[in-house]
Each structure stands twice: as structure tokens, then as C-alpha cells.
């Protein structure tokens, strides 16, 4: 809420306050004047104190939709409490440098970045956007948790989020590496997490080929987008990756970057921009791009849908539905497939519940992330569909954890491209 809205909202109080006695009015004015002195930290800090205070003093109006709270069922994980701890760490009420307070630091990382809180927030922010500013101060004090340091080490050593350079595995996975000639129409930007799902990558390559698109994958030169570093708030590492990617994209000559990972799309656009880096080409998620190809008759469904895929449910990746604000592309594509029955889960589109595998929680507390995945799978199972269709490698990972071992044969997690491959 801006200053103008705030003043307007409290205008009705003015005549009542005017009636008050001199001492009361003077106390009130003093309290207004001393707000920062009374409640803000001294010295330099990056924490968003204004909004941490708003969040910690809110009655927690988003709590019912916080995936981590619902997974843990502990008040400790409630959004308002996280903001409260962030505030106490920032003002030194809880000393972050003491080993005994490590749990409080860890709490700042127990979020999936799903941003369902933002949907209900009277102030229109997400809790993670506040926690990230607390992480900034912790990093400046050299208090980055070890599980975050390990991710940064991996990025620096392998250029990906794995212990090895996952892009180098393309041959053994049967993925076609298409080198650029510097004059591409599209650069197919494969997420490092998607390299764990080679069938999806192969399907995307075939779809782009079928549509007659001139594109490259440039896998030999690929590096991570740097998203994990931005989540951890290691801007130095993040910017290093942004620079590498900017060069790589420029080399291809492509006017549009199409990625199979919504996390990469968000990083290449929003996160790079906030770090002051503009890669100067349009970046879209592949679902949006495929929808565009179908709408322009560049792709046609020529085959019948196999029996086993005739009934599906959609798991909207929260990064697409809430961060990229696109809940229509996936449905527009699916609605063009004859013989396909879509059973929507109760929580879908912008109200989708997260798979548990976004953000930093799966490093900070894998058990909670798995429970969140389990909760989401339960909701998808309630639809009666055995095929869970999604469009994000993190969701494929998370939902995979959420399916019980003895049900792995019954339920199938499918990327939309894998389904489309069977039809074109």
C-alpha cells in the first residue's frame, strides 16, 4: 500500500484525533516521528524492514495456502512467523552469529518460492521476497548456510546444479546437439533440471523440427542460468552466469529464447533485469511457444490420442501460473486435442499448490519438501486421472517424490511435450 492509499485509508480518523487532548495528540505525533528509531535496525542493512513488519503483524491471512505450513503442520512454518524471525534476526533480537540460533537462519530458507501467499496478501508481496532480503544481510555477515554454499560450489565447479556437468551427458541420453550457425530463429534453452528428463528434451526438439523452426541447442557450451545463485542471493555468482548466458544467446543470433524450464525463463528475464542485466531478446516458456506454433498452423495433431492418455489432470507449475502469469497456453493446446478428457484438480491455475521442489526448501529441509509433494499428488489423485500433465522439470521431480513407491506404476507424470509428440 502506497503512502497516498495509506493516508486515504486513515483519513476518517482525523476528526476523531483532532478531538483528543493535547497530551494524547502529542504522544501520538511523537510515536509517528520516532517509528524508525523505535523499531528499525541501526546501521546499514538490506532487509526490507517495512514489509517484514507488515507481514509479521498481519494475522497471517495467507497461512491456509502456504504449502510449507500445510506440509509441516507446524506454527513455526507459518508465513507471519518467518517474517517475525526475519525481523528479529535483522534487529539483533535474535543474534544470527550464535551457533545456537542456526535453526532461525535455516527458517529463512524454508520456502518454495511458490508465491501462493502473494495471491492473498493485503500488501501484495510474497513472503519469499522479504526472506530474500534477510538472506542478503546473512550473506554479508558470512552466514550463508552450508547447504547453500554447496550449491554455489557445484555451480562454480560444473557450471550446472549437479556434481558433474549434466549438459555433457547429452550423447549418452540420445539428445541431439544442434550447434548454432549464428543465425538461429530460436534458441532452445534446455534447463539443467530438464536434462534429467531426456525424453522431454527429445520431444521438444522433434516438435521444433516438425514445425520447421531453425533452432540450436548448443549443448557443448551450455551453463546453468544461475537461478539457484539468485535464490540463494549470491549475486556475484548469479551475475557471472548471467554474463555467460548473455554471450551464449548473442552467439546464436536468435530473436527468441524458448526454454523448457519456467525457472530459467524467470531467471533470464526478471532476475537478470533486477540484477541490471538485459539479454535483449524475448524469452518464453516452450508451452507458450508451442501454443503459438499451433495457432499459426505450424503444428497439427495428426494421430489419435493413445487410450492410456485420454484422461489427464493438469498440474500447473506455480512458476508458470503465478510468476509468468500464464494459465491459458497449456489449456488452449490441450483443448485442441480431440478425445482428451481434462479433469481439473480443485486447486489449479493461479491457485495451484506447489510440488515442493522450487525455491530453497528442498535443500534446507528435504523432508518438508517431500511432504508438500505428497500433498499435491494427493490432490491430483482425487481427480481420478492417472496421468499428471505438467510443464516444468522441477514439478516432474517434486511430483515424483510425492508418489508412493507402490503406486509408481499406476500414476504417470508427463510433460505436455511428451503427450504432443504422440500426436504430431
Amino acid at each position: 500500500m502506497g503512502v497516498f492509499e495509506t493516508l486515504k485509508k486513515y483519513k476518517w480518523m482525523v476528526p476523531l484525533i483532532e478531538k483528543a487532548d493535547r497530551i494524547t495528540k502529542s504522544t501520538l505525533l511523537k510515536n509517528f516521528r520516532l517509528k524508525k528509531k523505535n523499531f528499525y535496525p541501526e546501521g546499514e542493512y538490506k532487509a526490507d524492514i517495512d514489509n517484514l513488519i507488515k507481514c509479521m503483524l498481519c494475522p497471517n491471512m495467507c497461512r491456509f495456502d502456504c504449502g510449507i505450513l500445510q506440509a509441516s503442520q507446524s506454527e513455526t512454518m507459518s508465513p507471519g512467523y518467518k517474517a517475525r524471525i526475519g525481523y528479529y534476526l535483522s534487529i539483533g533480537k535474535i543474534d544470527p552469529t550464535k551457533e545456537e540460533n542456526k535453526d532461525f537462519i535455516d527458517l529463512m530458507y524454508k520456502c518454495t518460492n511458490e508465491e501462493s501467499c502473494k495471491v492473498w496478501c493485503p500488501f501484495d508481496f510474497s513472503v519469499v521476497s522479504l526472506l530474500e532480503t534477510v538472506r542478503d544481510d546473512l550473506n554479508d555477515k558470512g552466514l550463508m548456510p552450508d547447504y547453500c554454499k554447496q550449491q554455489i560450489d557445484k555451480l562454480n565447479k560444473t557450471n550446472t546444479i549437479e556434481d558433474y556437468n549434466i549438459y555433457e551427458t547429452y550423447k549418452e541420453k540420445g539428445i541431439d546437439n544442434i550447434e548454432t550457425d549464428g543465425n538461429d530463429e530460436v534458441y532452445y534453452y534446455i534447463g539443467c533440471e530438464m536434462m534429467k528428463f531426456p525424453e522431454v528434451v527429445k520431444a521438444n526438439i522433434e516438435i521444433l523440427k516438425k514445425a520447421g523452426i531453425k533452432f540450436s541447442t548448443n549443448l557443448k557450451k551450455r551453463v546453468c542460468c544461475g537461478g539457484p545463485a539468485f535464490n540463494i542471493r549470491d549475486f556475484e555468482t548469479g551475475k557471472k552466469f548471467a554474463g555467460k548466458n548473455k554471450e551464449l544467446i548473442k552467439e546464436t543470433g536468435a530473436k527468441i529464447v524458448v526454454s523448457d524450464c519456467p525457472g530459467c525463463v524467470l531467471t533470464l528475464t526478471d532476475r537478470y533485469n533486477k540484477a541490471g542485466i538485459d539479454i535483449e531478446v524475448k524469452v518464453v516458456h516452450i508451452v507458450e511457444y508451442i501454443n503459438h506454433l499451433i495457432s499459426n498452423d505450424k503444428l497439427k495433431f495428426e494421430k489419435e490420442i493413445p487410450e492410456e492418455f485420454k484422461k489427464i489432470t493438469i498440474h500447473d507449475p506455480c512458476l508458470i501460473s503465478r510468476n509468468l502469469n500464464d494459465t491459458t497456453s497449456i489449456r488452449e493446446i490441450l483443448n485442441k486435442i480431440s478425445g482428451l478428457k481434462i479433469v481439473e484438480p480443485i486447486y489449479n491455475k493461479e491457485y495451484v499448490h506447489c510440488c515442493g521442489w522450487s525455491g530453497t526448501v528442498h535443500w534446507a529441509d528435504k523432508e518438508i519438501a517431500i511432504r508438500e509433494a505428497y500433498n499435491r499428488v494427493k490432490e491430483l489423485k482425487e481427480t481420478g486421472a492417472n496421468v499428471f500433465l505438467t510443464a516444468c522439470p522441477l514439478c516432474e521431480l517434486g511430483l515424483g517424490y510425492g508418489i508412493e513407491e507402490n503406486e509408481k506404476d499406476k500414476y504417470k507424470i508427463l510433460d505436455i511435450s511428451e503427450l504432443l509428440m504422440k500426436l504430431i
Binding site: 507481514c55 503483524l57 517475525r84
Partner: protein, 492 residues
Amino acid sequence: MDFKNFELIYKENRHEIKDKQAIESKLKEIIGENNVSTKDIDILAYTKDTTLLAFNWVIEGKIAGLPDFITWPETVDQISEILKLANKEKIPVIPFAEGSGVVGGAIPIHGGIIVDMKKFNKILDINDKNLTVTAQTGINGMNLERYLNAKGYTAGHIPQSLYISSLGGWIAHRAAGQFSTKYGKIEDIVLGMEIILPQGEIINFKTIPRASTGPQLDKLFIGAEGTLGIVTKATLKIWPYPEKRALISYAFPTIENSFEAISQILRVQIYPGVIRIYDQFETERHFPDVEQAKDKVMVIFVCEGNSKLVDLEESITREKCENNLGVECGEHPVEHWFETRFRVTETSMLPTYKIVFDTLEVASLWENAPVIYHSVLESMDKVKGNLIITAHVSHFYPNGVGIYFSFGGVPPKEKSDLEFYQECWDTTIKAVLDAGGSIAHHHGIGINRSHWMEDEWGKSMKVMRDIKNLLDPNNILNPGKIYVNTWKRGEN
């Protein structure tokens, strides 16, 4: 972390536990290693409820109460065993779910074991034939209601705390929702319950629309605030989701005109889902842009349900409003209410200016309602430091109303925020009692009102205390609430 860094508000009569480690081990034996915590990070999370003064304490680094153990049981047998252990060791047990109470009901003022009910969050059955839903009581209200909505139903219980409260909390505090004039209050909605008594015995009240089977013992537990038992499961009435809604608003010259109009509507058995009267201050606060309502009293109505019935209700509602000098203000004020009813921002702003504020609700017969309204406003005007006293009326019966008063001010130099807060509460309640009203409509007693219970109940309070002693002879279930004077009247 050292809790000494946080000023503890309720520190008197804390229950000292001699061997905490031994108790922790026993709790872990009952509910498993991962369902018990004594970690600082968990303890701090359960030190408050949603009492508005607690928000001032949060920013000032104070904590209301300090529990010793946090537990997350998963079965009724586990809760039963925890209670048996607590009786043996004489340790307080405080039921907790979403912590949305605003009268201190879930604050562990003597320390002890928090029994967090959040894992009791399953919807067990929706029965279309009987129009019932059965759910565990730790379920969040919004998660219950939106699940019902998705299946084509509503429970009709929509408190402003819907997003942050639990089914168990509604039952414990005898709650009422914004649509209660049509659907009833929680005691009208609950048809059956499973309850664990203070000494661990599990009892069930079967689901039945009505019975003539002696005194209705089940009602004793609705509003007992977790002092007589822990409700673990409940069956509620549900309704098909309304097919039509009519949004109506009128501005009246005085609050008395609005009372008269609404009384006449209810007298002929028209029950709009929502009726809300805003006094002149609150009308200015919520509807500054509605010209017709300038210096008047706004009333909004929502009629909902079957289309034909809604049309009839709308027509009669309009007729009664116009007969009582109401001026039509259109749908916009009601739409504004729908848009903003869950957008609470005051708690986030006012404590940063050290403003102490709250809302408290009281009940009255029609004949006393205008007197209560005016006398509370007059009395609160005299409280030194108080800046604001306003009212709205949001719960209605053919026989009377529930009135909400909101106050806000800055404590004078000689008073702490708690002392000022208590003075505002006590002043309001005294004015209400003097004018023939009841001290609470639907938030319950908790800590804030317990010292007025003798005035409210008279000699019946002894019977209540006898019942408490009978069921909970060791006084382990949520002590310091309802039956004792945690706040000392007149001493603050």
C-alpha cells in the same frame, strides 16, 4: 537463544516442571520423536494467539506466554495419553490449532504442553443425502469451506477469521460467521462431535438433527474454549452453494432507524445471509465515496439462496428499509465489502505507532441496543489516551443483535500498554453490563473477559466451576481462562 531477551507478559503462577527431560521422553514415547519439540524456534512460535495487543508485543520483542513443550499428535489415542500424562504430572495442556483467537484463549499463560491440532486436518465425509460434512477439527476454515465450495456446498460459517481459524477454534469459542443471520452460529451448525475429556476419556455425541434425550450435554463443550475437553472431530450442516445473491445497501439518518428497519425484516422471518450496520464513523471509514451515505449510517445486506426466495427477500428488505427512511445506495458498497472483508491491514500499521487497539463484541436484546451503543461511546470517550471508538453491528436475531466496538489510542505515560488495553476493555464491558447487555457475542472469554464472568453468570458461575472441577479435577486443561480472574478488575 535466551528467552530472557524477550519480556514475558504472563509470568506469574507459571507451572514449574521439575524434570523436563523426563517429560519430553514420555511425550516422545506417546507420539514419536518428530512430534514433540522443545526447540527454541518452535517454543517461540506458540507464545501468542491473535489477541490484537499481542501484535504490539511482537514488534516490541515481548512474548505473551511461554510453553514448555510443543506436541503434534496424529490420533485421538495419542491425545488421550498426553492428557493422562499431564494429569499424572499436573502439567497444563493448551489446545492450539490456528491461533486466531482474540481473547487470549490459546496463550499458555502458565506454561505447559501445547497440543497443536493441525495434523487433525482431514475432511472425512460429505453426505449429500443428509447434507453434512464430517471433518477433523484442526482443519483450517478456508480449506474446509473452499473444498465444500468446489463440491457444490457451503457450511455457511464465514467468519472474518476464515483464512486463519480452525473448525476446532470455532467450536471452542462458540463462533459466529458473517453470514450467520441465515445459516446460524456454530452451535446451530454442529450436529455431532468426538471429544477427549481432560482425563483422557474419549466420548462421542452422535450425529442427529435433533433429539429429546435429556439435557444436551454436547452443548457444554461448544464455547468451553478447550477447558472441558478437546474436540477432535465434528459433523456440520452444509447447504447447496447458493444459486443467487442479491446485494442491497441503504443509508439511514440514525442507528435507531437502521435497528428499526432490520427488526421489522426479521420479525417477518426474512433472514438475509449478511446484515451489517456501520455507525457514522465507520460509514465514513469504509464508504467515504458514497455520497448518499454522508453523515449517515450505512447498512448492507446480502440475500442468497434459491432465486425465487432471494427475490422475495430482496423485495421485503427494500420495503422495510424505505419505510424507515433508508436511502438506496446500490450494489457498490456491498461489492466493496466483499472485496475488502479479508484484507486486514490495521494490525500491520497501528503497532508501529504504538497505538493500542482492538475490537470487542457484545450481545443485546433490541430494546437495550441503542442504549448500549451510546453508553459505550460515552464511557470510552472518557478513557484517557483513547482516540477512537466506533461500532458496527453484524449479527442479528428477531430478538436482538451482536454489536462490535472498535477502539484505539495511545497509553498515557503512567500506564503500560496492557494496563491501557485492560482499561478500555473493562470500560466497555462495564457500560454494556450496566445497560443490560451480555459481555461477549462470539469471540469468547479467554483471559480478557474471565474476571467479568461472575457478573455475567451470577450464581450459575459456581455451577460452571463445579462442572470444571468434576471433569478436570487437576485443572490441567487450558488453565487461567473462563473460571478465574487472570486480569484483576479495578487494579489496573
